[in-house]
C-alpha cells in the first residue's frame, strides 16, 4: 500500500527532473515544458496531502494551480512567439538585450 511518503518522494523526483530541465536545456519551449513538469509535481503533492488529511482543499488548490498554469502557458508562449519573430531563434543565450 503506497503511503504518503511514497507520493512525496515521487513528487520530489519529478520536481527535480523539471528543475534539471530548466537549468540544462537551451530551448525556450523545453524550458516552459519543464516548468509544467514542476507544477505537476507540486499538484501531486497537494493531492497526496489532501488525501492524507481527508479534505477537499488539496484538490481545489490544484484547480487554481491549473488555471495559473494555463495563464502562464498562454503568456509565455506569446512571449516566445514574439522573441522568435525578432531573433529567429529559441536559444535563450541569444537574448542579451533587455530592449528589443
Amino acid at each position: 500500500m503506497p503511503t504518503l511518503n511514497h507520493y512525496l518522494i515521487l513528487s520530489a523526483i519529478i520536481f527535480s527532473i523539471g528543475t534539471a530541465g530548466v537549468f540544462m536545456r537551451r530551448n525556450l519551449i523545453t524550458i516552459l515544458l519543464s516548468i509544467e513538469i514542476m507544477l505537476n509535481a507540486v499538484n501531486l503533492t497537494f493531492v497526496a496531502f489532501g488525501r492524507a488529511l481527508g479534505s477537499a482543499d488539496g484538490q481545489i488548490i490544484v484547480f487554481f494551480v491549473m488555471t495559473v498554469a494555463a495563464a502562464e502557458a498562454a503568456v509565455g508562449l506569446a512571449i516566445v512567439i514574439s522573441l522568435f519573430r525578432h531573433h529567429e531563434s529559441l536559444n535563450p543565450e541569444q537574448f542579451r538585450a533587455l530592449k528589443w
Binding site: 492524507a52 495559473v68 506569446a78
Partner: protein
Amino acid sequence: MKDPIEETMPETVLFYIFGAFAVVASLLVIAQRNPVYSVLLLIASFGALSGLYVLLDAPFVAVIQIIVYAGAIMVLFLFVVMLLNAPQEDTEHDLKVHPLLRRGPLRFGAVLAAALVVELVWALTKGGGESGPFAGGAVASVAAIGRSLFQEYSFQFEVTSILILVAMVGAVVLASREVLERRGGGSGPSGDR
C-alpha cells in the same frame, strides 16, 4: 497473512507502474532534441499522473488533468511548436553533443538537480515518522469540491476569471503583429512568420 497482501497488491503495483511511467516520460521530455516529441511525451507523463490521482481517490483532478492539461494546454504548446517550425536547438555544437551532456554551467545544473533529489528524499525519509496507509473513507467527492469551490472559495474563483481574462488580452497583445507595424516596425526583421 496472505489475504491483506493480496488485497493491497494491485494498488501498490499500479502506483509503481504509474510512478515509473511518469518519471521516465518526464526524463525523456527533457532529453529530447525535438520539442514536438517533448510535448507528446509530456502528455504521456500527464496520463500517468492522472492514474496516480485516481489512486489517490481524486477523480475530479484526474479528469481535469486529462481534459484541461493534456487536452488544452499541451495542444497550445504543440500549436506553438508547429507554428514556429524550429524543431532543433540550432547551433552546430548542439548537433554533436546531446543537450543533457554539455559541459560548463549546464553540468552544474545536473549536479544541482541531483542534490535536490537527494536532499528531498533524505528529508522525507529521515524527517518525520513513517506514515501509514491513508485513512479509508475520507473521499472528497466532486459534489463536495464544487460546493466548497462556489461557497468558501467563490471570491478566489472570480479572481481566477479575471486572471484568465488578463492573460488572454496579454497573449493577444504580445503575439499580434499589427501593434509593432503601426508603431513603425521596430528593429526586428520583417519576416512574415
